[in-house]
C-alpha cells in the first residue's frame, strides 16, 4: 500500500510539474501580450540567433573595446557598461560637421541612428521623425511594397516599426523608439513615420551618433560586402567608392533575402 502511495505520488507529481510548466509558459505568454512585452520579447528571442558579427557592441566601433558582443540586445538603456563608458568620455568641444559623408553616403549628424538602419530626428514640435538611413534606403530603393503602421498605433524600441518588401525579401524595420505614430510618409518623402515619443521626449541612449557612425557604417559595409558574395563583382565598394543608388539592381545575382536579413538584423 505504502509503495503504491509513494510510486503513484511521484508519478502524479511529475505529471503535475509538467502540465504546470506548460500552462505557466502559456499564461505568461498571454501576460506578455497584454503588457505589450511581446515585441521586446520577440527581439530578445531573435537577438541571440543573429550571427556573432551582427552583435558587436557599439563601443567596439569607438575602440573602447577590442572585441565585445552586446548582451543587451542593442538596448543600451539597460546597460551599465554603456552608462559608465559614456560618463568617462571627454565632452568633445570641437563643433562637429553637420553632415558626415561615409563612402559617399550622407549621414546627417543631427539624426540618431538605430542599429537596424532607421534614423530618428526629434522635431521642435516634440514629435520624432523616423526614416531609413542612406544605406538602408539604397538597399530597399523603390521597394515593391511598404506596410506602415496605422496612425495612432504604438511602436516599441527594437520592435517592428514598418515592413518593406524588396525583391522577395520581406524586411521589417526595427523601431528606434517607443511612441505613438502620429503621421506616416514613405520612401518618396524621405521619411516614414512621425512619432509622439512616450514620456514626451526621445530617450536616445541606445541610438548611434557623431563619431560612432563612420566605424559602424564601415563595419556594415563589410557585412554587406560579405553578404553580397564574391568581391570580384562590379561595382565594388571595397575601395570606398560610392555605392550605386539601387544596390539590388546592381547585384542581380545576390540572394537579396540574405542581404537584407544581414543588414536589417533579421534572424
Amino acid at each position: 500500500m505504502l509503495s503504491h502511495i509513494i510510486f503513484l505520488g511521484l508519478f502524479y507529481t511529475v505529471l503535475a510539474v509538467l502540465s504546470t510548466t506548460v500552462a505557466l509558459s502559456l499564461y505568461r505568454a498571454g501576460q506578455d501580450f497584454r503588457a505589450r512585452r511581446a515585441e521586446a520579447i520577440c527581439w530578445h528571442a531573435t537577438f541571440p540567433d543573429l550571427p556573432a558579427r551582427d552583435r558587436l557592441c557599439r563601443h567596439e566601433f569607438t575602440g573602447e573595446f577590442s572585441h565585445r558582443l552586446c548582451d543587451k540586445a542593442f538596448d543600451c538603456r539597460e546597460c551599465q557598461q554603456h552608462a559608465a563608458l559614456v560618463a568617462r568620455r571627454p565632452p568633445d568641444a570641437a563643433p562637429t560637421p553637420r553632415e558626415a559623408d561615409v563612402f559617399g553616403l550622407e549621414f546627417p549628424l543631427d539624426r540618431l541612428y538605430h542599429r537596424g538602419h532607421a534614423w530618428a530626428h526629434p522635431e521642435p514640435d516634440g514629435t520624432v521623425t523616423v526614416g531609413l538611413d542612406a544605406l538602408g534606403a539604397r538597399l530597399v530603393a523603390e521597394p515593391e511594397a511598404v506596410v506602415l503602421p496605422a496612425i495612432g498605433s504604438h511602436i516599441q524600441t527594437n520592435g517592428a516599426a514598418w515592413h518593406v518588401n524588396k525583391r522577395g525579401a520581406h524586411v521589417r524595420i526595427l523601431s528606434p523608439l517607443d511612441g505613438q505614430v502620429v503621421a506616416t510618409g514613405g520612401p518618396q518623402d524621405g521619411w516614414y513615420l512621425k512619432v509622439k515619443p512616450d514620456g514626451g521626449r526621445l530617450d536616445a541612449r541606445h541610438l548611434l551618433r557623431g563619431p560612432e557612425i563612420r566605424p559602424w557604417i564601415a563595419h556594415e559595409m563589410e557585412r554587406l560586402q560579405a553578404s553580397l558574395g564574391p568581391a570580384d563583382q562590379a561595382p565594388t565598394m571595397a575601395d570606398g567608392g560610392v555605392p550605386v543608388n539601387d544596390i539590388a539592381a546592381a547585384y542581380p545575382e545576390a540572394d537579396w533575402d540574405a542581404v537584407c536579413a544581414e543588414i536589417f538584423l533579421l534572424p
Binding site: 503504491h4 510548466t21 505568454a29 501580450f33 511581446a38 528571442a45 540567433d49 522577395g168 533579421l266
Partner: protein, 412 residues
C-alpha cells in the same frame, strides 16, 4: 517550388538542394513503408508473424528498445549538464541531443506497442499498476519522459524561420525556454529511474540466475549499472551522430573543442561503470549465482556464448575506450576519438544483448536444451522501420530547424 523550401530553412546555413534531399529521403521513406507493413502484419495477424516463442518470449525488439533508450540517454544527460550543472559549452549540441532523444524514445515506445500481444490494453498498466514490477516503473517513466522530450522539442520547432514570424509562438517559446531547467530536472529524474529500471527488468528475474543480481533496497545492481552505462553512452552517441551528420552534410557544425569534450564526459563516466561492472560480475560469479544452484561457468559452456563475451563486454568495449577517452592526446585525434566512441556505443549494445538474448537462450530446467532464435523478416522490418523513422525525423529537423547554433557562425 524551391523558394518555399528555402524559406523554411534557417538563414545563413547551406542545405542540400531539394532534389538531393529528395534522393536522400526516398530510400529511407521506402524502408519505413516496408517496416510499417511488417509491423502492420504483426498487429493485424498477431505475433505469430515473429519468430519469438514461449521460450524466446522477448526478441529483437526488446533488444532494440534497451539499446536505443541507452543511446538516447544523451538527451537527458546533456540537458542535465547544461541546465543543472550549467556546462554552457553543451549549448552547441543540446538541440541535436533533444531530437535524438525524442527519436530514440518514440521509436522504442512504438516498437513496444507492436511487441505486446494486446496493444489496445497498453493503458491497463496505468489503470491497475503493479508497483513492484520494474516494467511498471519503466512504462510510467518512459511515457512521462517522452512527454518531457516532446515539450523540449517544441521550442526547437517553434524557432523555425517561418513559424518564428508568428509572435505568439516566439513568445511562448521564450517563456517555455525560461522554464527549461525545470524540464531538464524532471527529465533527469525520470531518466535516472527508467534507465535504472530497464536494468532492473532483468536483474530482478530470480528465475533466471544468469541475469539475477542482488542489490540495494528494491533495486538490483543492474539498476545502477544501467544508469551509469547509459549516461556514459549517451554523450558518445551524440558525438558519433554529430560527426556523422557533419560528414554527410559536409559542414562544420560545432567548434572543434566540442566533440573531444563530449568524449571526455563519456570516458569519465565509463571508468566507474567498468569498475562497478567488474565488481558486480565477480560478486555474481562468486556468490549470487552459486547460491541459486548455478555454477557461473556453466552459462559459458553453451556455445556460441563463451566467456569471450564477458571479456569483450568489460575490456574491449569498456576499459579500452575509457582509457582512450581519458588521454587528452588521443582524444584530440579524430580517429581515436571516433573509434573510442564507437566502441562505447557497441559495448552498450553488447551489454543489452547479453542481458536480453543470452539470458533467454540459456536453459534453466536441468533437462532443457539451449535455445537459439533468429528474427523473422517482419521483426527485422519493424526494427528497420524504427531506424528509418529516426533518420527521416532527424534529416527534416536538421534541414528546417536549428540543431547546431554554432553552424551559422562557422559557415562563414
Amino acid at each position: 517550388m524551391p523558394n518555399a523550401d528555402t524559406q523554411l530553412m534557417p538563414r545563413g546555413v547551406r542545405r542540400s538542394t531539394p532534389r538531393q534531399f529528395l534522393l536522400w529521403i526516398l530510400p529511407w521513406a521506402a524502408l519505413l513503408a516496408f517496416g510499417v507493413y511488417g509491423a502492420g502484419l504483426c498487429l493485424v495477424k498477431g505475433l505469430n508473424q515473429t519468430h519469438m516463442d514461449n521460450r524466446f518470449a522477448f526478441g529483437l525488439w526488446i533488444f532494440l528498445d534497451l539499446t536505443v533508450i541507452a543511446l538516447g540517454a544523451g538527451a537527458f544527460f546533456t540537458g542535465f549538464l547544461l541546465y543543472i550543472l550549467k556546462k554552457s559549452e553543451l549549448k552547441a549540441v543540446i538541440n541535436s541531443a533533444v531530437v535524438i532523444g525524442f527519436i530514440c524514445y518514440s521509436g522504442a515506445v512504438a516498437a513496444l506497442l507492436v511487441d505486446v500481444g494486446q496493444p489496445a490494453r497498453f493503458w491497463f498498466t496505468f489503470w491497475h499498476p503493479n508497483v513492484h514490477s520494474m516494467l511498471t516503473e519503466v512504462t510510467f517513466c518512459i511515457s512521462c519522459y517522452l512527454t518531457v522530450l516532446f515539450i523540449e522539442y517544441i521550442p526547437i520547432v517553434l524557432k523555425n524561420r517561418k513559424l518564428r514570424q508568428i509572435p505568439s509562438f516566439l513568445v511562448f517559446e521564450f517563456e517555455l525556454h525560461k522554464l527549461m531547467p525545470v524540464l531538464a530536472g524532471v527529465g533527469t529524474f525520470l531518466s535516472f529511474f527508467h534507465q535504472g529500471s530497464l536494468g532492473g527488468l532483468y536483474g530482478v528475474l530470480r528465475g533466471r540466475p544468469f541475469a539475477f543480481r542482488e542489490g540495494f533496497a528494491i533495486w538490483p545492481s543492474t539498476f545502477f549499472l544501467f544508469i551509469l552505462s547509459a549516461a556514459a553512452a549517451g554523450p558518445a552517441f551524440i558525438l558519433l551522430t554529430t560527426w556523422l551528420v557533419s560528414k554527410v552534410s559536409g559542414k562544420q557544425l560545432v567548434r572543434p573543442e566540442v566533440l573531444p569534450m563530449l568524449g571526455r564526459i563519456s570516458g569519465v563516466l565509463l571508468v566507474p561503470y567498468i569498475l562497478l561492472k567488474s565488481i558486480d560480475t565477480l560478486v555474481w560469479i562468486d556468490s549470487t549465482s552459486p547460491a541459486r544452484g548455478f555454477a557461473a561457468y556453466q552459462y559459458y559452456a553453451w556455445k556460441p556464448f563463451g566467456a569471450w563475451i564477458l571479456f569483450a563486454e568489460i575490456v574491449v568495449f569498456g576499459l579500452a575506450p575509457a582509457l582512450i577517452l581519458l588521454r587528452r592526446r588521443l582524444r584530440e585525434s579524430p580517429a581515436w576519438l571516433l573509434s573510442a566512441a564507437t566502441l562505447v556505443c557497441l559495448g552498450i549494445a553488447l551489454n543489452r544483448f547479453v542481458l536480453t538474448i543470452q539470458t533467454l537462450a540459456l536453459p534453466t530446467l536441468p533437462f532443457d536444451p539451449f535455445m537459439s532464435y533468429l528474427p523473422s523478416w517482419q521483426e527485422t522490418a519493424t526494427f528497420l522501420a524504427v531506424v528509418a523513422y529516426g533518420v527521416l525525423l532527424y534529416s527534416f529537423s536538421f534541414r528546417y530547424l536549428t540543431l547546431f547554433p554554432q553552424e551559422k557562425d562557422l559557415s562563414c
